[in-house]
């Protein structure tokens, strides 16, 4: 085995790694990049696919925003293309039609949640970083890991292809509430909703395989000395996330199967007796329960929120500890808080259903648990804020994104409180306020956390840095535009604008309050600007592979965790020899130490 742990550069690094690992034969292109069972390659596959879906989801909402700002006006440039691709029913004369608006709305939510954010946060970062941070050679079940990506990929293909089947993609919201989801295209044997359900079953299978694999890996493959309380917070966040996916997704799979039965075999699981559609009674037996779908959906849907946020918190914690050169304040309370979040997230789901008439006693119960779950979230956020205190902060791009995450997620979280109280929710429910709230959590919250992670681990994955100047343009542009997009939505929500209006509320507000409509125009322009500010990132992401500044050291950020103790990029099998852990994860600026960081594998 080669003695050096410091490889010079990207291409050389790979080469050196292969030499170092000479018992491992050279792989062909297919088995190296397409059918790879290496957790790092799978992580990158997840990451690139998810980023493409992120862009696609943004494109969908871009078209919707145009329709909201300028109802009934053809979408410039894209409109004609949409008409060509999807037909006159969907985009006659380049004008977005109602059905298309509904389809784009439903698919924007689905794609962003299930095909972009979760795969990026869990599939990409979880896969790439978790085994490295616990000192494992790979995931516990590498081939399951590969299957997990392939299921995800096929799920994505099915979702994408559903735009082009007759009648278009699913159009009943990302929540697919029955009976609407079943009756919207009743009688069409294979419709967008059916495709949605098949796609979801594939995505759920992918998540389950991933979750089993992650938990097993973290329990079984921690290296020598890596006790539970020496695990980086990122690993804890992934661990709890994996449990949420493992236990919350199967009920949605059950719900999906039942709705598939409703759509294809005309059962009535979610269809009540005497349902009349278009003036005719539906030829089904009835006797089902629309509320049942909502219960099953939100039993996943709420833990899913924490699936979105926990990995981002994990990434932000790593980046903040590294860039403040200080240990995380309250590491243990953060760990316990994330476990609490995990448990509580299973008993808050019905706060999405206050207006369904399920009863005030049940509403009160879920209001109480909802207020309880905000406590551990606040503990984590507070610990991260206090971690900044007295640090000498390095303001690189990764650090900026992580720092911006804190107030942005704070806004998202705090604006959720009025929605958790069932009295104030009666007014705010289904308004733009809700949209503003959860986008603050996910867009400038989670996505900023993910960007921080990309800028932070890119040098480890590729051997080159991302460009800092482009990164800062990306950061400041995104930060300003995100706020210009989402903050006005709170105002629109207070004014009572429904989130489902195809004309942006024109019919509702034109007489009473035209200022709310002006906001639509501002938001749309900000959204376009937000898209423009992603261009430097896209360029940076690909160009830096070839022209980025080379990494001269395996640990370019002077970090303490084991992911930086590997060669760059890490070879198959990750570590040249089995690492041994002697200390906790965040020994920064330890008084009396030789340097301001003491890696976990440095012997005492």
């Amino acid at each position: 085995m080669a003695q050096t742990t410091t490889s010079k550069s990207g291409a050389h690094g790979v080469h050196a790694a292969h030499e170092a690992h000479h018992d491992h034969h050279e792989l062909g292109f297919m088995s190296k990049y397409i059918f790879s069972s290496d957790h790092k390659v799978i992580g990158i596959q997840y990451g690139v696919t998810a980023l493409i879906f992120l862009l696609f989801g943004f494109f969908l909402v871009g078209c919707m925003r145009w329709q909201l700002a300028y109802p009934g006006r053809a979408i410039p440039m894209i409109g004609g293309f949409l008409e060509l691709l999807l037909g006159k029913d969907m985009a006659a004369g380049g004008i977005m039609q109602g059905d298309l608006y509904n389809a784009f709305g439903a698919m924007h939510g689905t794609i962003m949640v299930f095909l972009a954010i979760v795969p990026l946060a869990f599939g990409a970062f979880g896969n790439f970083v978790t085994p490295l941070q616990i000192g494992a050679p790979d995931m516990a079940f590498p081939r399951l890991n590969m299957a997990s990506y392939h299921f995800y990929f096929f799920g994505g293909i099915v979702m994408f292809a559903s735009f082009f089947i007759p009648g278009g993609a699913a159009r009943s919201g990302w929540t697919s509430y029955s009976p609407l989801a079943t009756t919207a295209q009743f009688g069409q044997a294979f419709n967008g909703q059916t495709a949605w359900l098949i796609g979801m079953v594939l995505l759920i299978t992918s998540s389950l395989l991933g979750a089993v694999n992650f938990i097993t890996t973290i329990i079984q493959l921690r290296t020598k000395g890596m006790s539970w309380m020496r695990m980086p917070f990122f690993v804890w966040a992934q661990f709890v996330t994996a449990f949420l996916l493992l236990l919350a997704f199967p009920p949605l799979e059950a719900a999906g199967i039942l709705q598939l039965m409703d759509n294809v075999f005309h059962t009535s699981f979610f269809l009540p007796t005497g349902l009349v559609v278009n003036g005719a009674q539906l030829p089904v037996s009835g006797g089902g329960s629309p509320l049942l779908w909502q219960h099953l959906f939100w039993f996943l849907g709420h833990p899913e929120v924490y699936v979105l946020i926990l990995p981002a918190m994990g990434i932000v914690s790593e980046v903040i500890a590294n860039n403040t050169r200080k240990p995380l304040w309250g590491y243990k309370s953060m760990v316990y808080a994330s476990i609490c979040i995990g448990f509580l997230s299973f008993i808050v789901w019905a706060h999405h259903m206050y207006l369904t008439g399920m009863g005030t006693k049940i509403s009160t119960f879920f209001q109480t648990t909802t207020m309880m779950i905000s406590i551990p979230s606040v503990i984590i956020l507070t610990a991260l804020f206090i971690s900044l205190w007295g640090g000498s902060i390095r303001f690189n791009t990764a650090s900026l994104f992580a720092l911006a995450f804190l107030p942005m997620f704070g806004i998202g979280g705090l604006t959720g409180l009025p929605l958790g109280f069932n009295a104030s929710d009666i007014y705010l429910h289904d308004s733009y306020y809700v949209i503003g709230h959860f986008h603050y959590v996910v867009a400038p919250g989670t996505i900023f956390g993910l960007f921080a992670g990309i800028y932070f681990w890119y040098p480890k994955a590729t051997g080159r840095f991302l460009n800092e100047t482009l990164g800062k343009i990306h950061f400041w542009g995104s930060l300003v535009c995100m706020n210009l997009v989402f903050a006005p939505m709170f105002i629109q929500g207070f004014k009572g604008m429904s989130r489902r209006m195809y004309d942006g509320g024109a019919t509702y507000f034109l007489e009473t309050d035209p200022t709310a409509l002006k906001l639509n125009i501002y938001i749309t322009h900000s959204a376009i600007a937000l898209g423009v500010f992603q261009l430097p990132f896209i360029w940076n992401f690909f160009a830096s592979l070839f022209v980025g500044r080379k990494v001269t050291n395996d640990n370019p950020w002077d970090a303490t965790t084991l992911d930086w103790a590997t060669p760059t990029p890490p070879p198959h099998g990750n570590f040249l020899r089995e690492p041994v852990v002697y200390r906790g994860p965040y020994e920064y600026s330890v008084p009396g130490a030789a340097k301001d960081f003491t890696p976990q594998n440095q012997p005492t």
Binding site: V212, E253, F265, T273, G573
Partner: protein, 277 residues
């Protein structure tokens, strides 16, 4: 570096990787079937009175064949015992005995599926009939001198199909009604199609009970099939590992057996819920 603990147990957890994996997988399976059972409860509790008019019940019950279901339960429990015996045989280093017990297990699995499809067939050929004068009954249908079966969808009849096929009358052998003093007479009658207000077989769309019954049992059946195929793989083409890595092979059988017990356990809950209650 190789992945550790693929065959040996990790000292501090006492488990090898696959065993942790299968327990986690089973936890997710419990959530899957748990959601379906919960749906069953919610649908049954919320069922409106008289939705299924043939028996004037909110929720049709006692429609399934209990003796056959009991026999099938016994078949599945037997297979659960033999799969443990197979694993124990490997631990005692007796490959021939292992193979014998595995073959019994797999045969039990297919026997279970065969019996289940016989039961499905019974339901698909059983009809609910409502007449315009308010009479309602269940029984067997004869159209054009043939008793429709299950194996081809063209055998499935309902009112719109009778009308569009220009069938004017059908024969109907009604089931003995409850409360007739135990006279188990099957009443055969001829029914004119224009007197019928509703006709449908005992298929998922007929009633939410059949919908959930077929969905859960079919999903369970898929688990039986999948489990049987994996066990069959271990018994024949995959058995070569016994020569190269007996420890990991034994672990595989243990993990497969755990899944098999789970499949059995789901049925232990399913049987009373849909057959007896």
């Amino acid at each position: 570096m190789e992945i550790p603990y693929t065959d040996k147990a990790r000292p501090d957890t006492g488990l090898y990787n696959a065993k942790v994996g299968i327990w986690l997988f089973l936890a997710s399976e419990i959530m899957l079937f748990g959601a379906l059972f919960s749906s069953y409860i919610m649908l049954r509790v919320g069922a409106a009175a008289g939705v299924w008019p043939a028996v004037k019940l909110a929720w049709p019950h006692h429609l399934l064949n209990v003796p056959i279901g009991t026999f099938n339960t016994a078949v599945l429990i037997t297979s659960s015992v033999t799969v443990v015996m197979a694993w124990a045989s490997l631990k005692m280093n007796n490959f021939r005995r292992f193979r014998m017990f595995m073959v019994i297990t797999i045969l039990c699995a297919f026997a279970f599926l065969g019996i289940k499809s016989y039961e499905y067939n019974e339901k698909f050929t059983h009809y609910e009939l409502r007449l315009k004068d308010g009479k309602a009954m269940t029984g067997h249908l004869e159209v054009n001198g043939k008793h429709p079966g299950f194996w081809s969808p063209s055998d499935l009849w309902n009112l719109p199909r009778l009308t569009s096929s220009n069938v004017t009358e059908v024969k109907f052998v009604a089931d003995p009604m409850e409360g007739h003093g135990g006279h188990a007479n099957h009443e055969e009658m001829t029914v004119k199609v224009d007197e019928i207000s509703h006709l449908d077989a005992f298929i998922p769309r007929n009633h939410t009970f059949f919908a959930i019954y077929f969905t859960i049992t079919a999903l369970h059946g898929l688990h039986v099939l999948g489990g049987a195929l994996v066990l069959a793989y271990f018994t024949f083409p995959g058995a070569g590992m016994w020569k190269t890595n007996p420890e990991q092979f034994t672990n595989r059988i243990e993990v497969g057996g755990l899944f098999w017990h789970f499949v059995d356990l789901v049925w232990i809950f399913l049987f009373p819920v849909v057959y007896l209650l």
